[in-house]
């Protein structure tokens, strides 16, 4: 596989609790990878380690062939690893327009205001360009998170439970956006609980439980996996 991202042997402990127990994940360039698993299985922790928000206790991350080592999160973002947050973290005191200008300005973009407006239009947020990000609805917040994440022109986008709290139609809206972004060449890793979204979106699925990879394969294969039933239902 032409791996864009390799996470090898990642171990992460919080005090006495092992969140990630030697996890290895590869992400192919251009693919749509889904990550599932019960609460507390380590999905978000793994993404935090990949994005640089946390240091692993062991293991390595390689992006586009180069090891990331102890590179801080902001440098990884500039390198092309983008992520959204499980609970949206908008820049509430700034307008939507300015929310997008921030990542654009870190990338030495030639025309930040123009690009920001274009992105707002693409994500259906142009109407609210001047509004404060703090005043947005749930689905608008999710869309802003995505727009902000892709503003920097990333190679890899990690979407962390972007569908949580959304209605059926809103889920479809966000899914369409993610599919469009992938069609443009952005590799997407989607963490989700909503199985419908995972099945529709992913080419490959990885399932985590108690800090370990317990299943990996096509969506259908993983969903039928006996380990999965045990993890989710405790049977």
């Amino acid at each position: 596989m032409n791996a864009l991202l390799r996470a090898e042997g990642i171990v992460k402990r919080f005090g006495g609790f092992t969140a990630l127990d030697t996890v290895s994940v590869h992400v192919a360039a251009g693919e749509r990878l889904g990550i599932i698993g019960p609460n507390g299985s380590g999905k978000t922790t793994l993404m935090n380690v990949i994005a640089g928000r946390m240091r692993p206790d062991a293991g390595s991350i390689t992006f586009d062939g180069a090891g990331l080592g102890g590179m801080p999160a902001w440098r990884r973002a500039r390198l092309g690893i983008a992520r959204t947050f499980q609970i949206p973290l908008p820049f509430g005191g700034l307008s939507l327009h300015d929310n997008l200008r921030v990542p654009l300005e870190q990338q030495a973009e030639a025309d930040p205001p123009g690009r920001a407006n274009a992105l707002l239009a693409e994500f259906g947020l142009a109407r609210r360009a001047g509004d404060l990000a703090a005043d947005l609805s749930q689905v608008e917040l999710r869309k802003l998170e995505l727009a902000r994440a892709v503003a920097g022109g990333p190679r890899l986008l990690i979407s962390d439970e972007a569908m949580a709290g959304l209605s059926g139609a809103e889920i479809d809206e966000v899914l369409e956006l993610l599919l469009r972004l992938n069609a443009r060449g952005i590799t997407v890793v989607m963490i989700e609980h909503m199985m419908r979204a995972i099945m529709r979106f992913s080419q490959r699925v990885i399932c985590l439980d108690v800090g370990r990879v317990i299943a990996e394969g096509t969506p259908d294969a993983v969903v039928a996996h006996p380990e999965l039933r045990r993890a989710y239902l405790g049977a």
């Binding site: 005090g15 509430g92 005191g93 703090a134």
Partner: protein, 290 residues
């Protein structure tokens, strides 16, 4: 420095540390466990001190006893303060950090000025049979007031540790420090638990204040110097560790005492803050941090 002087300074430092522990235990809970940016803690201690002065003035009782009596109204004062803080700042999220800090700073400031207006800028003290006399063991002189302060500190620390580990509420407080969500799942109301804890912390402040004025006369602008000492102790201890707080307090006491008997004595006020900066720079999680 010859051995006798060194021993003297060390012993004085240990006793001083015991006294500092008495001052800091309330903050170990309020800031260490509850995460409240309680810059006004030393100001509250000072209010406790002046309270003890007033109670002794009115009823003629021993200052430490006065402190114990004041612990009751201070508890309710503490719950009220936390209730206000939570409604106004904690639950509003976003820039609550900035405003919460500014709020407590304002409160500390207003308390200082109110104390000046009420009591003037001159020093005030209390009387007690153990103030002014010393315990003599061989060549060593241990001022009784420091021994009393350290003894009370140990008792309070012990009581707090028991409370935190043996009672339902105490364990709930430790749990809420680790994970508010888990507590809510257990069926306890995290806000109520925090409120009680803050009340207990403030109650201990009444006692701290009484000990402060036992150890020496007080004046309204003292709070500022103590901010550095108590936060240095709580941070060095590691947030939330009661035993760590006692140890850290003793370490600071010894450091200050040694500095005081050295040629660089006039730099002693800077020791606590210097220690704080060093801890923040090199080991921000403290000695026993969670």
């Amino acid at each position: 420095m010859d051995f006798e002087l060194l021993l003297d300074a060390l012993l004085a430092g240990v006793l001083l540390g015991g006294f500092y522990a008495a001052l800091s235990l309330g903050l170990a809970i309020a800031f260490g466990l509850l995460d409240v940016p309680h810059i006004a803690h030393p100001a509250f201690v000072l209010v406790g001190a002046y309270g003890a002065i007033l109670v002794q003035g009115k009823f003629g009782i021993d200052p430490v006893l006065a402190g114990l009596l004041l612990a009751v109204p201070f508890y309710f004062f503490g719950t009220a303060v936390y209730r206000f803080y939570h409604t106004t700042f904690e639950s509003r999220g976003s820039d609550a950090g900035l405003r919460g800090l500014a709020f407590f700073f304002g409160v500390a400031f207003v308390v200082e000025v109110l104390l000046i207006l009420a009591f003037g800028i001159d020093q005030r003290g209390v009387r007690a049979p153990y103030i002014g006399r010393a315990l003599e063991i061989g060549e060593l002189r241990l001022p009784w007031r420091m021994v009393v302060a350290s003894a009370v500190a140990l008792v309070v620390a012990g009581a707090m540790m028991l409370w935190l580990s043996r009672t339902y509420i105490g364990r709930a407080v430790q749990a809420v420090a680790q994970d508010t969500q888990a507590l809510a799942l257990m069926g306890a109301d995290p806000v109520r638990v925090k409120r009680i804890a803050f009340g207990v912390a403030t109650a201990s402040v009444a006692l701290s204040g009484a000990l402060l004025v036992v150890v020496g006369p007080v004046e309204p602008n003292m709070a500022r110097i103590y901010i550095g000492k108590v936060f240095a102790i709580v941070v060095l201890a590691g947030l939330g560790s009661v035993s760590g707080t006692v140890l850290a307090a003793v370490l600071l006491g010894i450091a200050e005492s040694l500095m005081l008997s050295s040629p660089a004595a006039s730099w002693t006020p800077a020791v606590a803050f210097g220690l704080l900066l060093a801890v923040l720079a090199f080991r921000p999680q403290g000695l026993f941090g969670r």
